[in-house]
Structures are given as structure tokens and as C-alpha cells.
């Protein structure tokens, strides 16, 4: 007796009938109960009688060819009427099943039936859209109204379309219900309006809008939208004055119908009965007047809080989380209520299975812990449950109860902490071990949260959105040692009429590649997916990423809808990676989210910034360039926050960007866009500008080359200025160190920008020497990059000059450009040095260093040394030369005439000088004399400047490579 053992969901007054679907929706049971008998229509197409309440089968009443959809008793319980999907309606005598009457005439499955109280008529509604009233005695159709929307099957019917007769007089209404006493009429409309009229007085007793449905269910994928907003269950209240709406109590089907149907049904009333009838009709204007007349923008229902990477709550099998660490699935069916946790990387933890007795609804997963939370029930408070599997002690879990009337709405995990946002607009922070930390108020109801590393991003409702838009705000907090807020509740840009579907942090693909310097000291092994840039996805499939390089703005980086084949296909995002630029998501055919079975497979999408004209080469390169810039912003962020990272990554990025710029420059050159070339050169590094100059002069664009060299000089000056500033600051810092009695080794002298922080740390923690070495090398790497950015540029100017003279081109302009450059560079050097001296003077009050030092600085190449010596000769030979460029030109010509040996000798001389300079400096360093210390320092600075020279061969080769590629473009 499976049918009767199912719990009936509603208590009915005598003789009422109801329909309930079982889970699959395939088997349909219709119950009617009267006079100690229970009638069921079961899926084997029969109508069966059972004794009630024992539930023993008492014979089959009738059979259909398919399922029966509705069974009812008549008023005195002697007959039943049954409507079936085979388009038939039968009326059967309960006592004698041979007394059958068949009603043919519907062209689609019968939805619903109703006896009139006097047993004269039978009303039936069908999927063909008609409502018919039959004369029971002769089985003729008395009247037929096309009222409903047509559909092909019961399952697809938008309305169960229950009919009701007024108990005493017997009128048919469609969406309205009569109260048992016959005095009141209740109507429900699809937009949630429920109105009760008093039939006698024709007054509106009560009206109420429960929920605005029409706004929720527009758009192509109605059910999904509905799922997401979780609003489809309308709470029905029983009305005062004994009115029971037993129509609207089925969750699966929508409410009866809309206003037009009401109109129809009321006109129907008029037709059928004249007496006492005007009720329905005259109530109509009342109805419309009840509706507030407002045509302006309508407020959007706020989207419900959600966990990123989860599928809707109402599903029996759902994903609670799918992120870069693993998957949490939740099964909530009849046999089982359980949670399955699975890790992508089984080395983090093995898969686990938990029973879900507390009915957890939200979850998060990190490489340290599993976090679960449930809402409060009548007896139990809302709970936060953490399974801290990476704990080294034996107790691996903790549970915290929320205060009364406080429900957890969103949770997230970071490194070493957990956060929970509650319905009382509080954000509670916990350590991963269960210590309560800060609590603060949220500016609005939370939508979603995401955490990773030290960062926490909270998305909340800033206010009410209108016309389908959501009004969201974002807070980004850093919860490390230095706690600070980066985004102060700034508005979160969303596509129009969309809502948020995913929020999280981009992850760098490799484990262990980012290790905080400090962690090396503590020698802690770290599994570290380094996540740093917040990203989010809206329901239109636009992925946006925080652009730290542009004042924390949001830039769209991908449109997943562009990759979809069908209109209703979507990509369900599970992760974003910066290092290999990947958007990891699951393709869903015809839905927004994947089912748990079959196990969905991840697809990888590439990013594409929405730049114009990406079909053209120019647009493509622009897109690539800015994407590269965008996706390497995180390196700067890392550097700023004291994380070590692979320098090669940064260099690679810079190289890639410069290459792209170079290509764009070549392209603009080809298109005769010289102004654009200069603009592009503005984005380049010093090194690339040199190449650009070379490129321009070779392609005989003299004006451009001149402009570019001006630009190069400007850049050099700027650079020198910033460098000097930096040095000043560091000097200060450094001096403090000195005073603290820190003994400096030679390397530290020459590298004043070594991570002071790290040294401090070593000192503080008093670590052994072997450890000290490690950070040193690390810092060195980091620092040398730091410096390279500056020094390599200074060097680049020089090397540019050198290569140009060595290559022996007879392009007078170019030579002059190079030397011009050179001048600029040396000027920059000089200013730098002067600044340095100034800073020294102020701090140590030593006599100014003799200017000879700066003089020594200048000759850098063999040619220049030679030129210095032979300048007078040239001048005497050509007294008309006033321009420096002319002198250099002439000098070039003469220098070229020299034999190779001679030239080599000059070059050696130039080098030798610097080397001896360096050696001298080293010798002097040992001297601790205070007065000489300052001198020492200037020497040091000089050495710094000379240092890059030793790297020249390497730089030269890259230069050549770059230039080779640049020329390939020609």
C-alpha cells in the first residue's frame, strides 16, 4: 500500500480532494476520502477504493488507459468522478462500479474536475485550454469555455486549474475559491495578489500581495532564475473569517491563473446564472483599484545569499562547494542525508563522508579545513562547524552556536581563519582552531563571501536595485598582521539585469611557488595556492577582475557567454588562474549549473578583454598587451606585501609586454602614425625605447627618432629622480642600521637596498646563520630585480650608445642621437650623485667630495675616451664645428679609420679604468675611519653605477635579439 503510507501533506475538510506528486513526477496519486472510503488513482491507470483508515484495498472502481489526474467525490459520496490523461472523464458509482458514465469531448489530458453541489453538472478543465460543464444525466456538454493556456501534458500545465462551485447555488469559477460557508470568494492571481470578497455586500474584505512573480519569472530560463532566487514557494496564510485556500498549496505548480482568467470566469458567471450573480463582475473594478497604480521602475527582489560554486539548495543532490581545493557534495534524499568531501589533490587530505544530521546548507573548503554551517531550527541554534583536518593535535573539529535568532548566511575560509556572515548583519571572524576574533557589522545583507590567504571579500546589498538590477557593494579586507580595508564598500559593477553568481580569488597555479619570506624563517612547510586578485562572475557570464594597477577598478576579463553554443547554455565557473591564464569552468547544456551525476568535467577558457576591433592586428595586440599588464598586476601586489616570487615570471612578463609594444610600434610606423609611435614609446621601458629609436632611424623616420630620443632623455631624468629619492630614503634607513651597531659586510654595502625588513627579522628571531643565508639570497634575487628596473635602464642608455658605435653604421643622425642620449644619461648620473652627496652632507657633515670623482665618471667607452683626447685635434682641424654632434660625427669617422688593435686598446683602457676603480674602492673599504667613510660611500655609489657594466654582454645579447625581431618587422 505505498500510496496510503505516504504522509498526506494536508488535512482537508470532509470530502475534499487533493493531488500530490511523488518525487519523480511520473507517478501521480489522487486521493479522495469520503464515508470511510479512500479512493486512490495510482500509476497503473486504475482507480482503487480503500477502506479508511485501515487502507485495505477494496476493489478497483475503474480503469483508464493512462494515469488518472483527478478524482473527486460528489456531495453525498455516492459517486466519484475521475479525469485522466487519456482525455476521458468518468463518473462511477462507488457502490456499483458497473454504473459508469463516460464524458468525451476534451482534446487533451483532463486536469481537474468538480461536481456541482446538486449533482446536476460536472465541470472539468483540461490541458486543451477549455473548461467544460457537463450535464451528468445525459453526458452532454452543457457549455465550454476556452479559458486556459494550452499545454501538451499535465506536467507542463501552468496551473492545476482547480474548479470550484459555490456550495449552495452552484457556480463555476476558475481561479477563485468559495469559502465553505459560501459567503466569501477568494481569488489568487499569478502576480501573488490574493483578494477576498464578501459575496453579499460585494465588498473587498482583504487583499494582499504575497510576492511579485512576474518580475521573477521573465527571461529565458525561468526555472533557474527562480531556483536561484529561491522564492517560488509562496507562503499562504489562511484568511480570517474561516476562509481556507486549499487551491494554492502545491509548491510544484504555480498559482491558479491571472487576472484575465478572472475576467473570463466572471463573465462566465454572468452567462450561467442570472440570480444573485453580479458579485464576480462587480468585484472586478474593485480588484484593479486594489492594485497600486505605479508605472515607474520596480524594485528588484534582492538576491539570496549564496556560496560560490554551489548549486541551488532545493536540489536533492547538489554541490555545496566546488573550488580549487576540492568538491563538497550534499545528498538529501529519502535514504540518506549526507555530505561527501573530495579533494582534487589527494595529498591534501583523503576523501571524507559525513552524515548530515544537522542539515548543513552552506560549506567551504580550504587546504586546512572544511567549514559547514546550518540555519537555526525551532530547537537548535544556527551552528558553525569546522573540521580542521590539518590540525596537529587530536581534536580536529569544533562547533560554535550562534546566538538566538541569528542565522549564518554565508561562510568562507582563509589561511588560518574562518568567517561567517549572519542574518543580523554581523561578520564573525574565527581562527581556524576555533578562537573567536573580531566581530563587525556589515553595511547590508550579505550576498556572498570569499576568502583566501589573508584577504576577505564580502559582497552585500548596498540598497535596492530597480528594474532587474541588483545593487551590490564589495568590501575587501586584509586580515594579516597589518589589518586594513582595501575596498570600502564600493559599488560592485554588474551587467544590467543580472545578479552575482560567483565570487572568489584568482589563484596562481603552482603550489609552493609563493612563500612568504617570513615562513622560510619559521621553516614551515606551506601548501600554498596563492590567491590574490578578487574576481567575480555575474549571471550574464561576464567575469571581472580587480585591477589594482588602476585604483582598484573592476575590469571585465572574459565573457563566458561568448563561448556558449546554445542560448540556454552556460558556463559554471569554478576557478580563475592568473599564471597560466585560465578560467576553469564546467559547461552546462541548457542550464546554469551542473548536475552531480554524471560527474561534470572541467573545461578551460581563455581570457579576453573586451577591446575594440580585435579582428585587426592592432586591436589584437592592444588586447594582448593590456591583458598581460592586467594579469601581472599581482606581482606588484606580491612585492608590496613582502611575498617572494619568481623573478623570471616578472621578467618574462616585462619582456612579453615590451615585445608587444615593439610590434605595435612597428605596425604604427608602417601605417605612418608617428604620433602614435611616440605614445607607444611612452609605455616602454628605457631599453625598448632605445630599440624604438634604432628602429625609427633605420626606417628613415628622422623626426620620429628625434622625438623618441627626447622622450628617452625625459624618461632617464624621471628615473634618476625617483631613484635618487629612493636612495635617499634608504640611506636614512641604512644609517639607522649603522647606529644600531649592525656590522656590515661588503655585499651589504654595495646592496643597500637589500630587504632591510628581512634583516630585521633575522635579528629579531635570532635565527642561526645558515638560515640567515637563505633570505639573503632570496633578497638578493628580489632586490636585484628592484635594482635592475633602475640600473638596467641607466645601463641601457650606455649600452645603446656602445652598440651603435660598435655596429659601425654610417648614419650620422643616429650617432648623434646616441650621443645625445649618452649625455642625457651622464647628466642623470650626475644629478643622482649630487643628490646623494647632498644627503650625505646633511647626515654626516663631511666635506663635499671633490668634483674630480664625477669627472671620472664620464668616459665609459673606448670611443669616448678616444674622443676626449682627440677633441682638440678635431676642433683645430675643423674650426667651424660648433655643434657637439658635428664633433662626434667627425670623431666617429676618425675613430673608424683606426685599426682594430688600436680600437681594442682603447676599449681595454676604458674597462681597465673602471676595474681599477672598483678594486681601489674595495681596498679602501676596510678602512673604518669615519672621515673616509663618506668617501667610501661615494665610491660605493660609483661602483653601483659601474656594476651593471659587467652584465653588459648579457644585456647586449638580449638587445640584439630584440632588435633582430624588431627588424624582422620591417
Amino acid at each position: 500500500m505505498p500510496a496510503t503510507q505516504k504522509p498526506m501533506r494536508y488535512g482537508h475538510t470532509e470530502g475534499h480532494t487533493d493531488v500530490c506528486f511523488d518525487d519523480s513526477g511520473r507517478i501521480l496519486r489522487v486521493h479522495g476520502e469520503k464515508n470511510g472510503k479512500l479512493v486512490t488513482a495510482v500509476s497503473n491507470n486504475t482507480i482503487q477504493v480503500h477502506t479508511f483508515p485501515e487502507g485495505v484495498p477494496d476493489g478497483i472502481l475503474t480503469r483508464f488507459t493512462t494515469n488518472a489526474n483527478h478524482v473527486i467525490f460528489n456531495g453525498d459520496g455516492t459517486k466519484i468522478a475521475a479525469g485522466s490523461s487519456d482525455f476521458l472523464v468518468k463518473v462511477v458509482d462507488v457502490m456499483d462500479c458497473s454504473q459508469q458514465k463516460m464524458f468525451r469531448g476534451h482534446d487533451a489530458p483532463v486536469l481537474s474536475l468538480s461536481f456541482d453541489p446538486k449533482d446536476i453538472f460536472l465541470a472539468s478543465a483540461s490541458c486543451d485550454g477549455s473548461v467544460k460543464v457537463w450535464q451528468i444525466s445525459d453526458q452532454t456538454c452543457a457549455v465550454s469555455w476556452p479559458l486556459l493556456q494550452k499545454c501538451n501534458d499535465v506536467i507542463n500545465a501552468t496551473s492545476i486549474c482547480r474548479l470550484a462551485w459555490q456550495p449552495r447555488s452552484g457556480k463555476t469559477l476558475n481561479i477563485v475559491t468559495w469559502s465553505p460557508c459560501g459567503q466569501y470568494l477568494a481569488a489568487g492571481s499569478i502576480n501573488g495578489l490574493i483578494i477576498v470578497w464578501n459575496v453579499e455586500t460585494k465588498d473587498c474584505m482583504e487583499s494582499r500581495v504575497e510576492k511579485d512573480y512576474s518580475d521573477l519569472f521573465d527571461g529565458d530560463d525561468r526555472s533557474n532564475a527562480g531556483d536561484f532566487l529561491n522564492d517560488n514557494a509562496v507562503e499562504m496564510r489562511s484568511f480570517s473569517k474561516g476562509i481556507i485556500n486549499d487551491e494554492e498549496d502545491d509548491d510544484d505548480l504555480m498559482l491558479a491563473s491571472d487576472v484575465t482568467m478572472l475576467k473570463n470566469s466572471s463573465s462566465l458567471l454572468k452567462e450561467e446564472e442570472e440570480d444573485d450573480q453580479a458579485g464576480g463582475i462587480q468585484n472586478l473594478p474593485l480588484l484593479t483599484s486594489q492594485k497600486p497604480f505605479y508605472n515607474g521602475p520596480m524594485p528588484t527582489p534582492r538576491q539570496k545569499p549564496f556560496q560560490s560554486g554551489s548549486t541551488p539548495l532545493h536540489l536533492t543532490h547538489r554541490f555545496m562547494v566546488w573550488n580549487s581545493i576540492g568538491i563538497i557534495r550534499c545528498y538529501n534524499d529519502e535514504q540518506d542525508n549526507a555530505i561527501d568531501v573530495e579533494f582534487h589533490d589527494t595529498s591534501i587530505h583523503h576523501a571524507t563522508h559525513l552524515s548530515n544530521t544537522l542539515n548543513y546548507t552552506v560549506a567551504d573548503l580550504s587546504h586546512e579545513a572544511i567549514l559547514l554551517a546550518c540555519e537555526s531550527t525551532d530547537e537548535l541554534a544556527s551552528k558553525l562547524h569546522c573540521l580542521h583536518f590539518s590540525s596537529w593535535d587530536s581534536s580536529k573539529e569544533w562547533i560554535v552556536d550562534m546566538p538566538q535568532n541569528e542565522d549564518i548566511e554565508a561562510i568562507c575560509l582563509g589561511q588560518g581563519w574562518a568567517a561567517a556572515a549572519t542574518s543580523t548583519l554581523l561578520l564573525r571572524l574565527f581562527t581556524i582552531g576555533g578562537v573567536q576574533k573580531e566581530v563587525f557589522s556589515l553595511p547590508g545583507p550579505v550576498v556572498s563571501m570569499a576568502g583566501h590567504g589573508e584577504q576577505l571579500v564580502i559582497i552585500y546589498h548596498r540598497g535596492t536595485g530597480f528594474d532587474g538590477d541588483q545593487c551590490l557593494g564589495a568590501q575587501l579586507l586584509e586580515l594579516g598582521k597589518k589589518k586594513k580595508q582595501i575596498l570600502h564598500g564600493d559599488p560592485l559593477p554588474l551587467t544590467r539585469k543580472s545578479y552575482l553568481v560567483w565570487v572568489g580569488f584568482s589563484a596562481e597555479g603552482k603550489i609552493n611557488s609563493f612563500i612568504k619570506i617570513k615562513d622560510i624563517f619559521s621553516r614551515r612547510k606551506l601548501f600554498h595556492y596563492f590567491n590574490c586578485t578578487p574576481c567575480y562572475v555575474d549571471s550574464e557570464g561576464i567575469v571581472r577582475m580587480l585591477n589594482r594597477g588602476l585604483g582598484n577598478t573592476w575590469t571585465p576579463i572574459c565573457n563566458t557567454r561568448e563561448h556558449c553554443k546554445g542560448k540556454s547554455d552556460h558556463y559554471w565557473v569554478v576557478g580563475i588562474h592568473e599564471k597560466p591564464q585560465q578560467l576553469r569552468c564546467i559547461p552546462c547544456k541548457g542550464s546554469r549549473f551542473p548536475p552531480t551525476l554524471p560527474r561534470p568535467a572541467i573545461a578551460v577558457l581563455s581570457f579576453k578583454l573586451p577591446y575594440c576591433q580585435t579582428a585587426t592586428e592592432k586591436g589584437q595586440m592592444e588586447e594582448q598587451y593590456w591583458r598581460s599588464v592586467m594579469f601581472h598586476n599581482y606581482l606588484d601586489y606580491l612585492a608590496k606585501n613582502g611575498y617572494a616570487y619568481e623573478e623570471s615570471t616578472k621578467n618574462q612578463a616585462i619582456k612579453e609586454q615590451q615585445e608587444l609594444l615593439m610590434k605595435m610600434l612597428a605596425l604604427s610606423c608602417k601605417l605612418e602614425r608617428e604620433f602614435r609611435c611616440v605614445e607607444l614609446a611612452n609605455l616602454m621601458t628605457q631599453n625598448a625605447v632605445n630599440l624604438a629609436i634604432k628602429y625609427a632611424s633605420r626606417s628613415r623616420r628622422l623626426i620620429l627618432a628625434q622625438r623618441l630620443s627626447e622622450l628617452a632623455v625625459e624618461k632617464a631624468a624621471e628615473l634618476a629622480a625617483t631613484q635618487a629619492e629612493e636612495e635617499e630614503e634608504e640611506e636614512e634607513d641604512f644609517r639607522k642600521k649603522l647606529n644600531a651597531g649592525y656590522s656590515n659586510t661588503a655585499t651589504e654595502w654595495s646592496q643597500p637596498r637589500l630587504g632591510n625588513q628581512a634583516e630585521e627579522d633575522t635579528e629579531d628571531s635570532g635565527e642561526a646563520d645558515d638560515i640567515e643565508e637563505k633570505p639573503e639570497t632570496h633578497n638578493h634575487g628580489q632586490n636585484s630585480f628592484f635594482k635592475n628596473a633602475n640600473s638596467s635602464d641607466v645601463l641601457a642608455i650606455k649600452s645603446g650608445a656602445v652598440t651603435s658605435s660598435n655596429q659601425g653604421r654610417i648614419n650620422p643622425f643616429k650617432a648623434s642621437a646616441a650621443s645625445f642620449f649618452q649625455k642625457g644619461a651622464s647628466k642623470a648620473d650626475k644629478t643622482e650623485e649630487v643628490k646623494e652627496e647632498n644627503s650625505e652632507n646633511s647626515s654626516s657633515e663631511t666635506p663635499p667630495v671633490c668634483p674630480q670623482n664625477t669627472e671620472n665618471q664620464r668616459p665609459k667607452t673606448g670611443f669616448q675616451m678616444w674622443l676626449e683626447e682627440n677633441r682638440s685635434n678635431i676642433l683645430s682641424d675643423n674650426p667651424d664645428f660648433s655643434d657637439e654632434a658635428d664633433i662626434i660625427k667627425e670623431g666617429m669617422v676618425r675613430f673608424r679609420v683606426l685599426s682594430t688593435e688600436e680600437r681594442k686598446a682603447w676599449a681595454a683602457k676604458a674597462k681597465g679604468e673602471t676595474v681599477s676603480d672598483g678594486a681601489e674602492a674595495k681596498k679602501r673599504k676596510r678602512v673604518v675611519d669615519r672621515s673616509r667613510e663618506t668617501e667610501n660611500q661615494t665610491e660605493k655609489a660609483k661602483e653601483n653605477l659601474n656594476l651593471p657594466k659587467k652584465q653588459k654582454p648579457l644585456d647586449l645579447s638580449t638587445n640584439q635579439k630584440l632588435s633582430a625581431f624588431a627588424f624582422k618587422q620591417e
Partner: protein, 185 residues
């Protein structure tokens, strides 16, 4: 060539796996594989996939054609056509066998797939037999067989050629070239 060798060749076919470990690119003579990111699909040769699966280091993603609906269509098509139809993979039998033997838990409806592939295989082998039979009966000198996979050729190829050789010998011996030589004994 025996079937083991054919299977060996089939093991070079690329299949998609989802690893549950993290490993950088591995450099092999046959080419670079990886990098392996937990949870992210990656293409590897079948031999590696099976090896990893046996060590429970990955989940296999069945090839696109290994789907009941597609295979049913393929089977029906194969039955309808007189000639051999093109197969989704030149190693469909080997792949199915190896994947279903080692990773049936990752392949939905494994049993149905096994049956379907067996059906296709039987149909094709039957066709091959019939055509070989006709070929021999009608004493054709050549025949064209398209869309046969290596394994299928291997089942009857060697045997057929041997048989043809023998038959040729027998036939040539029927016409007595050297008169009644045998009678001499």
C-alpha cells in the same frame, strides 16, 4: 603481428584524465606530458592513464564517442550499411577494452558500452567473413576494404592471405603442368 602488438600501438592513443596530484611537466622521448594540476583535465597516452588509474592517481574521462547514444547510432548505422562504416577511433576495440577493464567506475553505463562495442565488432567481423567468403568463392583477384581498423585486419588478415596462398597452390596443382608426375611413384 599479433593482437598484443596492436594493443601496444593503441596504448599510444591520447585520453583525457583528471589527476589528483600536482606535478610539473614530464619530459619523455615521445614528447612532453603535463603539467598535472589536481582537478584539471589533461591529455596523456593510454598507457600512462591506465598506470595512474591503477595507482589511484587519476580519474579517467571517457572519450567523447564512448557514449551509449552515440554508440547505438553507430551500431545501427553499421548494421544498415553493406560496407564498413568509419569508426570513431582507429583503436575503438582496444580502447574500450582497456578503459572498461581498468576504469569502469569512471565510465557511466560501462556494461552497456561493452555490449554495444561488442555488437559493432561482431557486425563488422561478420561482414568481413562474408566478404572474405565471397572473395574466395568468386575467385576475385582483388578487393577493397575501407575503414577497417588494425585490430580487425589483424583478426583475419594473416589467416586469409595464408589460406589464399594454399588455395593458390592447390589450384595450380589441379592443372597438371608436369603431366602425371605423381603417377610415377
Amino acid at each position: 603481428m599479433d593482437s598484443a602488438e596492436v594493443e601496444f600501438l593503441a596504448e599510444k592513443e591520447l585520453v583525457t584524465i583528471i589527476p589528483n596530484f600536482s606535478l610539473d611537466k614530464i619530459y619523455l622521448i615521445g614528447g612532453d606530458l603535463g603539467p598535472f594540476n589536481p582537478g584539471l583535465p589533461v591529455e596523456v597516452p593510454l598507457w600512462l592513464a591506465i598506470n595512474l588509474k591503477q595507482r589511484q592517481k587519476c580519474r579517467l574521462v571517457p572519450p567523447e564517442w564512448m557514449d551509449v547514444e552515440k554508440l547505438e547510432m553507430m551500431r545501427d548505422h553499421e548494421r544498415k550499411e553493406e560496407t564498413f562504416t568509419p569508426m570513431p577511433s582507429p583503436y575503438y576495440v582496444e580502447l574500450t577494452k582497456l578503459l572498461l577493464n581498468h576504469a569502469s567506475d569512471n565510465i557511466p553505463k560501462a556494461d552497456e558500452i561493452r555490449t554495444l562495442i561488442k555488437d559493432v565488432w561482431d557486425t563488422r567481423i561478420a561482414k568481413l567473413r562474408v566478404s572474405a567468403d565471397r572473395f574466395v568463392r568468386q575467385q576475385e583477384s582483388h578487393a577493397k576494404l575501407d575503414n577497417l581498423t588494425l585490430m580487425e585486419i589483424n583478426t583475419s588478415g594473416a589467416f586469409l592471405t595464408q589460406v589464399l596462398n594454399h588455395m593458390y597452390k592447390l589450384r595450380t596443382n589441379l592443372q597438371p603442368p608436369g603431366g602425371a608426375q605423381s603417377q610415377d611413384f
